[in-house]
């Protein structure tokens, strides 16, 4: 099927994607399907930045149904598409939004109405019904709503997009660090890279360069002398030993710290907090945030208070918005494609924002922008192309810089 599809011809337009997270992988997949020649570079292992570190939630969109309906609608649409094009990459475990306090209950009507308005299918459950399904929930819960959340593997799901692009002829380099962008007559025409496998340096040339580096996108954009409105906004997650719930358990309230528990293999992952930093490479794991994950999480599932810790870590979200935002919570979760021709630089596009659940949709919109720029008249087809399993990613010998 995908293996026999035609590959981009030698004289097809060539796009260099900087950044091997979910966004870069999905874009490589999208553009190879439209006949574009793709080279992608990632300074570390694929998904080593933000993508692999997230809690592994396939959003139903319910989290955003009250405060950010645009994101909520994106999520529920992409939720259905991803389940169809990545079969076997998601648990069919669903999620619960659980009201614990009277204050949570004040949010209930808005929540239910928001989900309905965004097209998110819900089922309202009495506390006893929720407890039958999830016996370790806080027995004092006041209400629960079931939503189509799911658990995913944060690395292996996105890796399917890399695998499919690779089998269609995309050249994907991990351990290839961008040292600078090549600029010629006001246009970005490539990148100077260092291959960490061989130690050699060289230039990669392309008709267009895409900056898909998430919270690092400001660093890359600066190499072209342009700015992108990105706020690296880390959050702390805490993985506990033991699968304390089967469904994804969310607190029913406006976004806050420690309000989600994602069961993942034999672990329960509690997330998350939110603040903003200047440098996404220097992420602390503040002890008080870890303690808050446990404290807030135990309000949803009391056993969390005593559960044995497996790991605590931070991941930087690439949120779009003003750099002076305090916590990052007020910034939109949606994504943005920036054609830097508006900054006077040709051949350079930044795609940023978004989240794992919307990686395909981000790539579609960015792919549309890129194809318009390159004069390619082929629509996106990723909604209906089943991706190869992640194991296919390793089935071919990798190429390196000569």
């Amino acid at each position: 099927m995908t293996r026999s599809a035609p590959r981009a011809s030698r004289d097809a337009p060539h796009v260099l994607i900087v950044g091997g997270g979910g966004t870069g992988g999905a874009l490589a997949h999208d553009l190879t399907l439209r006949g574009v020649r793709i080279t992608l570079v990632e300074r570390g292992e694929f998904t080593s930045g933000t993508t692999g570190r997230h809690h592994g939630l396939l959003h139903s969109g319910a989290r955003y149904a009250v405060s950010d309906r645009e994101s909520a609608i994106e999520c529920i649409e992409e939720n259905a598409i991803l389940r169809s094009i990545c079969p076997g990459s998601f648990e069919e475990n669903d999620g619960l939004f659980v009201a614990i306090t009277d204050e949570d209950m004040d949010y209930y009507d808005d929540f239910v109405e928001g989900c309905k308005a965004c097209g998110i299918p819900i089922e309202e459950l009495a506390p006893q019904e929720a407890l039958r399904m999830e016996p370790l929930l806080n027995p004092g819960l006041k209400a629960a709503v079931r939503v189509p959340d799911a658990t995913m593997d944060a690395m292996r799901m996105p890796l399917r997009f890399f695998a499919t692009a690779k089998h269609r002829g995309a050249t994907l380099y991990n351990f290839m660090e961008v040292l600078d962008l090549v600029i010629d007559g006001g246009a970005v025409t490539g990148a100077t890279v260092r291959d960490l496998v061989t130690g050699s340096e060289g230039d990669l040339h392309a008709d267009l360069v895409v900056n898909a580096t998430g919270p690092w996108s400001e660093k890359i954009a600066r190499m072209a002398g342009v700015d992108v409105p990105i706020s690296p906004s880390p959050g702390v997650m805490l993985a506990l030993r033991g699968r304390l719930c089967n469904m994804v358990i969310n607190r029913m309230h406006r976004s806050g710290d420690g309000d989600i528990v994602v069961p993942q293999r034999g672990l329960s992952v509690v997330g998350t907090s939110s603040w903003t930093v200047e440098d996404p490479d220097e992420l602390d794991v503040p002890e008080d945030h870890v303690a808050r994950m446990r404290e807030e999480g135990s309000k949803l599932i009391p056993a969390i208070a005593q559960a044995v810790s497996r790991a605590a870590w931070s991941a930087a979200r690439p949120l779009i918005g003003a750099k002076d935002a305090d916590s990052g919570r007020e910034l939109s979760r949606t994504f943005k494609t920036i054609d830097h021709v508006e900054d006077g630089v040709e051949g350079f596009v930044t795609i940023t924002g978004g989240k794992a659940t919307t990686l395909r949709g981000m790539a579609e919109l960015c792919g549309d922008v890129i194809c318009r720029k390159l004069g390619i008249d082929r629509p996106c087809s990723t909604r209906s192309v089943t991706t190869l399993p992640h194991t296919a990613f390793y089935a071919e010998t990798e190429r390196r810089l000569a």
Partner: protein, 244 residues
């Protein structure tokens, strides 16, 4: 490293280095500040950011779920993301996994690991929709994704794999046994044929190093013993296959 931690002490890291085209490998020494919560992965990333940007290593999830940061730490297989540096002594030696070709520095060629698995292996187990009427059976021990995180630690620790490339190794055999337990449409006879091959279950020397090394409770050695039981029950003993 957390801002709230006590002042870090300095540890000496000896890190395996190799770039393609180098005449050989070497250890590079680095002095790294280490606090009580610093993991080996934190320390290696500190080296990358502050001492040597050309150091290559694999990581992704930071919580022992993806299996990318497997390496040898002081001679033992470990996931760097959940291995604290503090208890490891004043000198910490970090090497790539054994029995898998090294691409560069601490990076091994995982393609060589995946090539060993039976073709039918998927990673994520499809799960049933939770019922409204009753909790899923065994909720307290429920595990939905496959336990195996494909990290390669068992292969690195296996003494048979150290002496023979022909052996498929513990992870692949454990995966085959999972398919016997839960076939998901796969023909068990085909799996038994695969596992009964001279490169398969009978080559294990029962050292149990794989189970010792596994960070994800897969217990490959026990699975291999179960496979042998199934093979013997089907009269697929070592005597019925051609020695390879």
């Amino acid at each position: 490293m957390s801002a709230a931690d006590p002042l870090p002490t300095t540890r000496r890291f000896r890190v395996y280095r190799y770039k393609r085209g180098d005449p050989g490998w070497r250890f590079d020494p680095f002095e790294v500040p280490v606090g009580p919560r610093t993991t080996v992965l934190d320390a290696l990333r500190w080296i990358q950011l502050h001492r040597d940007r050309t150091l290559a290593l694999r990581h992704s999830c930071f919580h022992a779920s993806c299996g990318t940061c497997g390496m040898q730490v002081n001679g033992r297989e470990a996931l760097a993301c959940v291995t604290l540096a503090d208890p490891l002594g004043s000198t910490i030696t970090v090497e790539p996994l054994a029995n898998i070709p090294v691409l560069t520095d601490l990076v091994v060629d995982m393609g060589q690991v995946f090539a060993r698995f039976p073709d039918e292996i998927g990673t994520v187990r499809m799960s049933e929709k939770p019922s409204r009427a009753s909790p899923p059976d065994g909720i307290d021990t429920y595990e939905r994704f496959e336990d195996c995180i494909e990290c390669g630690l068992c292969l690195s620790a296996c003494p048979v794999s150290a002496t023979s490339d022909a052996y498929v190794g513990p992870a692949a055999l454990a995966a085959a046994q999972r398919l016997l337990e839960e076939p998901r449409g796969v023909d068990p006879e085909r799996i038994l044929d695969w596992a009964g091959d001279p490169a398969g279950a009978w080559r294990c020397h029962v050292a149990f190093e794989c189970t010792e090394a596994c960070p994800s409770n897969v217990r490959p050695a026990e699975r291999i013993m179960a496979l042998r039981g199934a093979l013997a029950a089907g009269r697929r003993t070592v005597a019925t296959v051609t020695p390879g």
